[in-house]
């Protein structure tokens, strides 16, 4: 275990989920400096304590959110350290992005109860308060553990375990060479070690990349319902949800903003996003809606592209498809074509025209015809994405951070191997990597390392 008191920690201080606002708290010596790196507004280094400042949080040029920042200077804060509270808009996505950004510029994800620990250690909590929070802290970590287990989807736990075992083997080889260099033991050559590090790096990198995906899963798989105005997108959403949520009318362009609803199908949470129709428009407000719709399409996992079966010739349809596929090119979005309004009398005559299209489902949103087929198709698309059972997903920010640290350390090992530095120096970074992963799976005890050595190699004069 490790508690690093001189690091600066950050975490969401308000309950996760959608609310009016959310507060992210930073605490530690560098809290103000770190926040200042991403905050555009007053220079926080120059402001006095107990003050509030308006500005924006920026990742490079990109504005993540407009925020209010409250600055507290040690010892006048909850933890007794320099602290900053960032009031953001209440979106999971924004908050995660900001927390990730803060971690990238030097903060660490707070462990369970860490704020209280710091508050206590800095003499900010008296005994009565401390006793009151003791139970909370204990239960927090239990809950945190439960959540961590819960969040280890697929083979995450197994993956980390085998990763850790590989690293342990690697560390053992190095330690073997260091402590038993005089004995008749064979050492793995550096090329093999480099290959092993590369292999482990691939896995950690994939897990790190999966963090974004993990968040997607945690927050629901985004499914965008797109299409030209008045093709029945809102009707479909309502049909899927069985409630009149979106505004449905016969006037094209009714849905001007995007509407989100969650629906659990086969144990998977889907976040359905109804968009304004995509078309050229002179209505300024609607134009914004169209632009947003396109953005949503690009960031979604699946696009249900709706069209009215009666309005397009096969040639038109092919053009529309080509255009949309071009739009989503380079994104992860998958497209399912949904031909709506098959309940009309004259549909039978043209039904055969659609047989040639792949990934196309014909439905009637109004009459709820064929919706099961559509849902099956949707689930199949998602499963297609995740059928690789080895693909694992990280959803926990602390795990993400641990993996990032391990990754950095392993990069250093790799550089070290390239430079041909000696084993004791390599071992420093290997230990760092093991410790980082240890915060997920439990620390590597030196006894385990030695046990591994003695189990595999004949040691002893």
């Amino acid at each position: 275990m490790s508690i690093q008191l001189d690091s600066t920690i950050c975490a969401l201080a308000t309950p996760p989920g959608i609310g009016a606002i959310g507060v992210i708290r930073l605490s530690g010596t560098d809290a103000i400096t770190i926040c200042n790196k991403v905050f555009k507004g007053r220079d926080l280094a120059t402001v006095s304590g107990n003050t509030i400042h308006f500005g924006s949080i920026r990742d490079g040029e990109r504005v993540l959110d407009e925020v209010l920042v409250s600055v507290f200077k040690a010892p006048h804060s909850y933890t007794g350290e320099n602290s900053v509270e960032i009031s953001t808009h209440g979106s999971n996505y924004i908050q995660q992005q900001i927390i990730q950004l803060l971690i990238r510029v030097g903060a660490k994800a707070a462990g369970p109860g860490e704020y209280t620990q710091r508050a206590f250690l800095n003499g900010k909590l008296d005994l009565a308060e401390a006793e009151a929070v003791a139970d909370i802290i204990a239960s927090n970590s239990e809950a945190a553990h439960g959540i961590a287990i819960q969040q280890m989807r697929g083979g995450f736990s197994d993956d980390i375990k085998s990763l850790r075992q590989e690293l342990l083997d690697f560390a053992s080889l190095i330690e073997l060479e260091l402590d038993f260099g005089e004995e008749d033991v064979e050492f793995a050559d550096r090329t093999q070690l480099t290959n092993l590090v590369d292999k482990v790096l691939v896995t950690t990198s994939n897990l790190i990349i999966s963090f974004d995906k993990g968040n997607v899963i945690k927050n629901g798989i985004p499914v965008v319902i797109a299409g030209a105005p008045n093709t029945g997108k809102s009707t479909l959403l309502n049909a899927l949800l069985n409630e009149d949520r979106a505004i449905v009318s016969e006037i094209a362009g009714t849905t001007r903003d995007t509407i989100e609803e969650e629906l659990v199908i086969d144990g998977v949470a889907f976040r359905f996003i109804d968009t304004a129709g995509i078309r050229h428009t002179d209505d300024t407000i609607e134009a914004i809606g169209v632009k947003k719709a396109l953005e949503k399409v690009k960031s979604s996992a699946v696009v249900l592209y709706m069209f009215d079966v009666h309005e397009h010739s096969v040639g038109d349809l092919k053009n529309i498809m080509a255009k949309l596929l071009e739009d989503v090119q380079g994104t992860k979005a998958k497209v399912v074509w949904v031909g709506n309004k098959i309940d009309h009398e004259d549909f039978k005559a043209i039904a055969h025209e659609f047989e040639q299209f792949h990934n196309l489902v014909l439905v009637s949103a109004r009459e709820k015809q064929n919706l099961d087929t559509l849902i099956d198709k949707l689930v199949a698309e998602i499963n297609l994405d995740n059928t690789n059972l080895n693909q694992t997903i990280v959803t926990n920010t602390r795990h993400f951070e641990a993996l990032s640290e391990a990754n950095t350390a392993l990069q250093k090992v790799k550089e070290g191997l390239e430079l041909g530095i000696s084993g004791d120096l390599l071992a420093m970074d290997i230990r760092q990597a093991l410790n980082s992963l240890g915060s997920i799976t439990g620390d590597v005890d030196v006894e385990e390392l030695l046990g591994n050595i003695f189990g595999r190699f004949c040691i002893g004069k």
Partner: protein, 624 residues
């Protein structure tokens, strides 16, 4: 007959000798009781000191004024700096020693120590009055009183020797064991355990054919253990030799397995995994078709040879037959067979970090009684136990080294915090900050602390300080002084290192992997002059500066990590803390914490079974 002493040390092995010397040096009146005054600090196993991690410990003992380094230097017949091809944290000095000279020099040193008396006898009982040690009773029926007692019994407590199916009591081959103390300690409430270790045959060097073995000579330029001017580097060295077992050897050994106490269940206790008997090696690693044997001379003039790597408790006829199949050993004559020995130890979690027992005040344990193996580990504990026995009597705070200060700190913290189920040996991998715990800087790390306690004199402190100041001065000089491309590039070309285009600071040149201090002096007269301005310390200063320049990034990072831990180390857990009252702690944590009584949050976090959640609870309750 005897006066009342401040400290009685029971046992004259490596731990006992260092304990007695330390307490006496600090001014306590000390009585050292041993069964045999001809065998002070006897090397019961191989005739060598130091090695990886152990060499660092010897240097640390020396930096704290202990005698092991000086005695090792004086009795050395070979010196090697192991791991020289690796980073400086791995450089490990090791000597082959003359076994008889080693003992004899130890005795000289002890006899020259004021305040130290000797008595040859067997201690059979510790006098304990109202929870406090007060002296000992011996086999001769004598009572000697003292304010504190340091027990360093080695393998002598109920020692049982095995050679094949024969067993006999003894502390070492041909030496009797000691009985009674274990039983008394158990009665007092101590938990004892049993361990096993082994030793190889000793043979007649005149019967060996060295032409069939590979020679392993000492270093061309020998170093030494002691930082003091009391010893000089060895000049005339003796070689060791290397040979190997083969498949025939393994078959011959297997023939004796049914009579092996290891395999037929006679020996139940745990032996060290890193020092297995040869029968254990061929049994566990059946696919390996040979095992290395180091042929080590027992002294400068003796023909006796220690067959390192052939530790065994098989019947002596099997030992002889098998060893004769080894290249160079075809006609080997035995002096005595290898044997295994079982002995009592006391789980060291029953000690506090000062090595005083938690049960009986003023009673200290050091060495193999604590489940360790190795002369160096024993000597280090002896030094600390002797020092703390003295400090306790003076009502001063105990001398405890931290994990980032010394291998000795790692050793004692591991023992007291985690306990051990197999003989504990030091490895560099046990130290989380090994880049800091190097053999080259033990004096810089520890001599000032040792001086504070009175373990080392002013001259030693002055030397350590001069080394540090000199090294800092030289580093500043390297940062200021530039080298000219013209002269530097000649040297760089030779080394295959990239040329410089303009004047470059010496510091930056020295950071290059293949560059050494002498290459700088080759290229610049100013640097050469500066390097040689530190009189007889020049060599140490240049080396110290080079290591600190070359590895400054790593050293700084390690220092930073260590300082982080320090903050937890400074959060004190009081002995009176009643863990059973802390409801949020897990059951296991309550039990372990109550038993081990860690002194800091940091130590608590290293106890197996104590989780981060438990630590959080402790953190919150701490202010009480």
């Amino acid at each position: 007959m005897h006066k009342k002493y401040d400290v009685i040390v029971v046992g004259g092995g490596h731990a006992g000798c260092e304990a007695a010397a330390a307490a006496a040096r600090l001014g306590s009146s000390v009585m050292l009781i041993t069964m045999d005054m001809e065998r002070f600090a006897q090397m019961s196993c191989n005739p060598a000191m130091g090695g990886v991690a152990k060499g660092q410990i010897v240097r640390e003992i020396d930096a704290l004024g202990g005698y092991s380094g000086i005695v090792s230097d004086r009795s050395a017949i070979q010196f090697r700096m192991l791991n020289k091809s690796k980073g400086p944290a791995m450089w490990s000095p090791r000597t082959q020693n003359d076994r008889r000279l080693f003992t004899s020099y130890w005795r000289d040193m002890l006899e020259a120590t004021p305040n130290l008396d000797f008595w040859q006898d067997v201690v059979t009982e510790i006098i304990v009055k109202s929870g406090k040690a007060g002296g000992v009773k011996t086999a001769l029926g004598i009572t000697i009183k003292a304010k504190s007692v340091v027990l360093t019994n080695g393998t002598f407590l109920n020692g049982l020797i095995h050679v094949g199916d024969k067993q006999f009591g003894g502390g070492r081959m041909a030496e009797r064991s000691s009985t009674g103390i274990t039983e008394q300690l158990i009665e007092l409430g101590f938990e004892s355990g049993r361990m096993k270790t082994g030793t190889p045959p000793r043979v007649d060097g005149r019967s060996l054919d060295y032409s069939r073995m590979a020679e392993q000579p000492g270093d061309i330029k020998a170093g030494k253990f002691s930082y003091s001017t009391a010893t000089k580097p060895l000049e005339n060295q003796r070689s060791c030799h290397i040979t190997y077992t083969n498949l025939e050897t393994h078959d011959l050994l297997r023939e004796g397995f049914d009579r092996s106490p290891m395999f037929n269940g006679t020996i139940q206790s745990t032996g060290p995994r890193y020092c297995p008997s040869v029968e254990d090696k061929i049994n566990r690693f059946a696919d390996k078709d040979r095992h290395q044997i180091f042929v080590e001379p027992e002294g400068r003039s003796t023909c006796e040879i220690y067959v390192n790597g052939f530790s065994t408790s098989l019947p002596e006829d099997v030992q002889v037959k098998a060893l004769r199949s080894v290249s160079g050993f075809e006609n080997v004559k035995f002096f005595r067979p290898g044997y295994a020995i079982e002995y009592d130890y006391f789980q060291p979690t029953q000690l506090s970090l000062s090595l005083e027992t938690k049960l009986i005040q003023n009673l200290f344990f050091a060495g193999q009684i604590n489940g360790t193996t190795g002369y160096e580990e024993a000597a280090a504990q002896g030094l600390m136990a002797g020092t703390n026995a003295h400090l306790k009597l003076k009502e001063k705070e105990a001398f405890v080294l931290k994990r980032d200060e010394a291998y000795i700190g790692v050793l004692i913290d591991d023992l007291v915090t985690k306990g051990t189920d197999e003989p504990y040996r030091m490895f560099t991998s046990r130290a989380e900050y090994r880049i800091l715990l190097r053999q080259d800087n033990a004096d810089i790390r520890l001599t000032p602390i040792g001086h504070k306690y009175g373990l080392v004199g002013d001259d030693r402190l002055k030397r350590a300080e001069e080394k540090l100041e000199g090294s800092n001065e030289l580093i500043s000089f390297y940062k200021k002084q530039s080298v000219e491309p013209e002269r530097m590039n000649i040297v760089l070309d030779k080394l295959g290192s990239a040329r410089i285009k303009q004047k470059t600071k010496a510091f930056n040149i020295l950071c290059r992997p293949t560059l050494q201090s002498m290459h700088l002096s080759d290229a610049s007269l100013e640097i050469k002059r500066q390097q040689n301005s530190f009189c007889d310390l020049s060599h140490e200063v240049i080396e110290q500066a080079e290591i600190n320049v070359k590895y400054h990034g790593y050293i700084e990072r390690e220092r930073l990590n260590a300082d982080k831990l320090k903050r937890l180390e400074n959060i004190v857990l009081h002995e009176e803390l009643d863990y059973s009252k802390l409801k949020s702690l897990s059951y296991e944590a309550k039990e372990k914490l109550s038993k081990i009584k860690p002194t800091s949050i940091s130590q608590a976090s290293r106890i197996s079974g104590v989780t981060p959640a438990d630590i959080s609870v402790l953190m919150v309750y701490l202010g009480r």
